[in-house]
Symmetry: D2
Subunit: 310 residues, 4 copies
């Protein structure tokens, strides 16, 4: 099976490489990392931890791809598709370009698993979107989200991509916390598509490189234990979603493809907290999960990742 | 003027010492740092940056105090008051013990400045409480907070005090973010006293040592510019509250006694973001501000502090 | 194969569990995590990321162990050995207790691989020791270390263990750097045993949770390229040691069992920089590497770990 | 007294503004912040914590300057001098351009205080240079540095300036440590000029925004207590240098103009550790100290800064 990664020198491309190196159904020699900026260089020039793989960045995809991951910037993936004949390949687009496109499946396995299994065009969800959607899915499906749910979610700096900027400068971001793009974050459209309503979303930049923590308060008289039970039923056969008895900290998920969801309640309000790794379940891990489904592999193949823990 | 600090070896006592060392109305030789645990030792044993002051921790307050700061743990300040005759001294309690007490003034100068000026018993507000109250005060005073405002606020690790614990362990807290005490944080009572309503308060622990950032969404059709104008009028003669045109990051306030408040709005909702340094405007800086008022000094004396900036 | 971890609730015990969960030669149901403090509780009480394993802490080891990892504190492992009959089991001690013991093999595979393969008593090296020994081994073996090599090495906070203390308090350690135990660190004896000389060792505490970076300057007129070549020859058949052309940053190794070594030279001096993850190659990863060797498995089994990268 | 800052929108220009705002001999209305990139904008556009000053960036210096601070990039200060007639003004250059220039005084008050007092051309030392020079000065002056002292020094990210780059990207730098420019750092020439020898200098990038910690081991049989005594004598009348009995951590100096120096010894070797804030004693604080001397003010005027402490 030939797997191509378009844009393999960036964060999400690098994480895909790291996962596929140990994937039981993928041979490393059949992975083709494509990078216009690094063509001809060994992969460890861009990803210095990946020594000894022998992999070299290619300048174009081979003709016989089975799976293509698009890790190009937003806006570039649609352009790429217009210019290339992908034949019979499965295409998994990590950019935002096809998430609202009627001919692409929205690649959230906890909602569209069956469709993903038979699809060749999969739009991988956004990182914030995945965290918010999974955290509120059970409530949204039962019409319990009300009119104006306020969602706060704080992201690590890798969510902002590799290009340096003022707000990813270490001197600015270390020890800092800040709100950005309140009310209008670009993930709101896909969130609305999944939840059936548009929350009031306040995104924040956190002083950590990896992870997202979402918290939302919803009107509901249900005791936390009952909400947890409903969530557990909802996600019972979804291997990466874990309903926990406490409120999860973000580092619990970092390094893994897991989502942890905790619930508390008080006096007619329910608090939901969900956490994930923005580069794994929020990007490359979920992309491999989608590949597994679309290829008929075990959904968790290659995704038994050791968490960073500390 | 003799100034005594009870509990001078901890975070807030240390910050008081650092401020008073440069206070134009206080002579360093008239500052008495009291610490049961460190009595007889130079202050730089507990605060190694404070070299060369000649100050030594005392085991008890002198008899002729003009101002007494209580930096004892919560619960201990009331005990201390019961056991000591403070005579005619001004007492400023940084603990939670007297914040709801009818005979003490709640030391938030932006609300009670005139009463503080003539008071000898001042209960210094909590750090979260100060950030939330100042952020929402103008709305609360005009009955615009509605029934169920959800407030998120993330604190630095110094908010948890000096005693090491699991969640202040560097290996746990670095790169992390977590919710704790949702709905039931102990500052809610004083917040309700000031705002006239009890918000739904979700506190979080951030991966930074200093600062608090609060964000809250309130139903209101007022454009952000008008809200800002109302805030500017409300705080026009309050030197430490700054209404800004953007949304402030938390590090902007660290190292100073300032509060920065930013406002945005969208489609019937107003977002308020406020930031401060939990050890300064959230504790020792505000305590000195209260001392200044109660002693008839300029409100800002000794509080022209250089921010950390980066 | 029954594998027991004595002291499985701590950092190194937890990392062993995380590795063994995905080890191709170990069945999760045959792993027995022993913890006096947590006996009877699910492992995710101590390690919240390890949900869904079904593992429960035991209060004692089973009678039929094949491999025993000792993750007890220093001083406790020798006590434990005195009190228990381990029968025919392979014992791998992660504490310092047996590193100088004549009947135990010092478990540094890059030096003692053949002896480890046939041994049942393996003393796992210290984290600083591993980083310094591997960084300087080639020079030490050829008598090129001279009389007084100065070695600096900075460790992450997990190196200090799980018990909270002043210097692992987030409020102290964040943004900080400090020297401790200069000249007299307890790993010097084992380092001397391996290198044949005792360096001047200056350990530092860094503001990061994971990793060690060592740097040392050695008198030598050899050009860097030649030194690199010698190192490459020396470690050619050691899968976890990577000689790189630049100077490695510590994060390159975090999350993996790898050691990266870089070399530079100038005007008669050679600089060596080596990095590793103190909890993996510096502790639990190396312990599994030793288990693999002692059990006749592939040396890298279960150790194809994805680096944290960012 | 008119004080002009050329390049006032950067880190060191901003720190100068923050200090001068509270300087007893400088009126804020007589400070002219010049910035080509920000001319016409209020200073809080570049330095958001500096609200309410009324200061606006100018596009050129006024004609009647008494003191000019050059905070332009390296290479640009000499160009600036060639193009401008500074008349009778005192010029303090924070760039590297004049540090070896025979007509400029090297502005290290602990060495050249008397010359600075009468000079109008002062080249402010580099941040690494100041930390290393003050740490080793007493030994250098007594010929005790030997042939090949190895100096390690780790800097915060603000040392790399404001322009974002790969190694100041938060995603790269957080939790990281790395060596750069070993043996050849550009501060070596000025260090040699002060110490009379050229150390082997290994600079490192630390995971903190502010501060430098230097450590160096020197051959000497002198007990630490005697070395400390010599240092104390040497710096007895220098108000910002503090010889301490322990080994100082870097955060002790952050936020202040202080240098802390600690000493230990063992078996014929002496360890010296020195720490400072790279933006204060390593740049803008020292620049104001030089201004104080050149203007005949108290050396410490405006420099009683509160340390960040935590």
């Amino acid at each position: 099976m030939i797997v191509t990664i378009i844009g393999a020198a960036g964060y999400t491309g690098g994480m895909l490489l790291r996962i596929l190196m140990n994937h039981p159904k993928v041979s490393l020699t059949d992975v083709v990392p494509v990078s216009a900026s690094h063509a001809g260089q060994p992969v460890d020039v861009a990803h210095p931890d990946l020594v000894g793989t022998g992999l070299v960045f290619a300048d174009a995809m081979p003709s016989n791809c089975d799976v293509i991951f698009l890790c190009t910037g937003h806006g570039k993936a649609a352009e790429w598709m217009a210019k290339h004949d992908v034949g019979d390949a499965i295409v998994i687009d990590l950019s935002a370009d096809h998430r609202l496109h009627p001919e692409w499946v929205y690649g959230l396995p906890e909602v569209h698993r069956d469709r993903i299994r038979t699809s060749k065009r999969i739009a991988n969800p956004g990182c914030f979107a995945t965290c918010i959607e999974l955290g509120l899915l059970r409530l949204g499906e039962h019409g319990q989200l009300g009119e104006s749910v306020v969602v706060h979610a704080t992201t690590g700096s890798t969510g902002a991509g590799q290009a340096p900027s003022e707000t990813t400068h270490f001197s600015w971001r270390a020890n800092n916390l800040s709100v950005y793009k309140p009310f209008t974050h670009q993930h709101l459209a896909e969130i609305e598509q999944v939840l059936g309503m548009r929350p009031i979303f306040i995104p924040l930049r956190g002083a950590f490189p990896r992870g997202i923590l979402m918290s939302a308060v919803v009107k509901s008289k249900a005791p936390a234990e009952r909400v947890r039970e409903h969530y557990r039923e909802r996600f019972a056969d979804h291997p990466f979603v874990h309903i926990v008895d406490d409120l999860p900290d973000v580092k619990r998920a970092v390094g893994t493809n897991n989502v942890f969801i905790g619930v508390d309640n008080h006096d007619g309000n329910v608090l939901v907290v969900s956490v994930l790794d923005n580069l794994l379940k929020g990007a490359s891990g979920q992309a491999v999960q989608n590949m597994n489904l679309a290829c008929g592999f075990d959904e968790t193949a290659g995704l038994h990742l050791m968490g960073v823990a500390y």
